[in-house]
Point group: C2
């Protein structure tokens, strides 16, 4: 496959009505009119590490790679602007495969107001998709980092947990769809294959007063520990309060893990976890943007770290693929 021909093909798929974009594909670099502050994140997904290309369609791989990067912007409460996709294509990858992958990303980009404004195509041993996303914010005070959690804050999560990990277990054959019901199994697999970055919900949580926020790609146990560490705060969570997605209990039973532990550690959910002052607990914005909102714990005085008050297991020590 010749790079230039592929890039020509991609220009047909990609379209931009983004008035910020002065130059994009086909130049040495894109040129984009900036807002006040650029919010930038990079997320890389590698075949065999973060997904298996035999289990996902090219469109799903493209969606998932962009969703992972956009989820970081959601966790900052930033509005997405542009995305840049660096593709490493292995020998067996055809031009239709690569085009479909970018088309999958483009569908999510269009829906979230993101412009795919450039990238890079190279050969590689395995399929690698590295996505850089840039969001814009007029006021950095409206963005939410990981370091603002304070004792007295309440901790909550968007949506339901465990679905991404359960979907992966189904795709990998570690669990069976028997007894789940077809629609439930399909939804779990979709939650892994096509996670939805919680962009609007992230901004709503910021408006409601969120002081620290992170997305749950590694699972609540690991990701809440990042919040605790960066904030120098102790986070107490109640394992039994986690909102389980439909079918997670059944899949967890099949893989021999407590369902709440599974939801806290399996990762792949791309929901948000945020810490808000207790006074914000009644703010209707915490739960309004398309996903539910569940309070799962609080920030307390003490050594930085995460404890599940109703579990004796050190779930935060769970080690993830990097």
């Amino acid at each position: 496959m010749r790079e230039l021909e592929l890039i020509d093909g991609l220009e047909v798929i990609l379209s931009s009505s983004d008035a910020r974009v002065v130059r994009w594909l086909g130049d040495d670099a894109s040129v984009v009119r900036a807002g006040g502050y650029a919010v930038t994140s990079v997320d890389t997904m590698v075949d065999g590490v973060h997904f298996h290309s035999s289990q996902l369609s090219p469109e799903q791989i493209g969606h998932r790679a962009l969703a992972g990067a956009l989820s970081d912007l959601a966790a900052m409460a930033a509005r997405p602007g542009q995305a840049y996709i660096a593709l490493g294509l292995p020998p067996g990858c055809t031009r239709p495969d690569a085009t479909a992958l970018v088309a999958g990303a483009q569908a999510l980009a269009a829906r979230t107001g993101t412009t795919i404004a450039g990238g890079d195509v190279t050969r590689a041993d395995a399929l690698v998709v590295s996505v850089t996303v840039i969001g814009w914010s007029e006021d950095p005070g409206e963005l939410v980092g990981r370091d603002g959690a304070r004792p007295g804050d309440l901790v909550g999560v968007t949506g339901t947990l465990g679905a991404g990990g359960a979907g992966l277990a189904l795709l990998e054959g570690r669990a069976s769809a028997d007894g789940l019901g077809g629609p439930v199994a399909t939804e779990l697999r979709r939650r892994f294959a096509c996670p939805e970055p919680r962009l609007a919900h992230g901004r709503d949580l910021a408006s409601a007063g969120a002081r620290a926020m992170i997305d749950l790609s590694d699972g609540l146990a690991t990701d809440a520990a990042h919040l605790a560490r960066r904030s120098g705060a102790r986070i107490e969570l109640t394992l039994g309060s986690l909102p389980l997605a439909d079918g997670v209990a059944e899949v967890a039973a099949q893989v021999g893990v407590d369902p709440f532990e599974f939801a806290a550690t399996a990762g792949e959910d791309y929901e948000l976890c945020a810490c808000l002052p207790a006074a914000a607990a009644q703010n209707p914005q915490t739960g309004r943007a398309g996903a539910s909102w569940t309070w799962v714990g609080r920030v307390v005085e003490g050594a930085a770290g995460v404890v599940f008050t109703d579990s004796g297991v050190d779930l935060a020590g769970y080690e993830h693929a990097v």
Copy 2:
């Protein structure tokens, strides 16, 4: 290797005195105060495709990956701001290797006024380094694309050509350093391993009136064809006018290629090629920023494309690894 430990190690290496940077490593995304326009490029280098890790030190690999991305900013005449490094690390890669790689990039970053403000670390089958660079410009009119070449323009290149390709031939054992002289061979290998992005020269060329510019990572024959295609212009080059680096003639003879053809097609040089109005030919800025400047051709009326007027070979059809 645990991602978090590695990232902690990298925070020690990386340092920023960049007042633009509000948040960087350790959050979901960096937050950077923007200039008027963001100029963004992504460049990926894969072990076994763009380099061989057995032939370069980790520091050189890091330098080269950042240099490749910065070279795109040089070709736009943009001033670099931040870089984001996505590392895919294979099983055998140690933490000192990864740290040294980032240290190599950091040394170049510090020297060019670039802040490494974030990135990503994942497992991969082979070493993959994907670098996103963002530069800033108050006025997009000061930036130079690929599409502005017009009949009557003169075409020139910075520095000397063929050195990167000759250095690679030496590293790969396709050519021998015998008869070259030790310092010449060392310099050729250095030109491949640690190319210098022509950032200051690119801005000088823009000031001197450059209307189209590109960096020569694929070689003049291929890259001038990009200028011709994007500008809808015909570019006539004189093969015999290309400025050969010391030792290129000897290496080209060893690999059985005409030295000027080698310089036009071997790539890996990261010099700049620019088209300027004939009136700019006397502007001293074309050659002042540390590298020499050589006129090698002109833009003429006719079908878009590149011809070497003193060669019967279709050098622009040369196919590069992507």
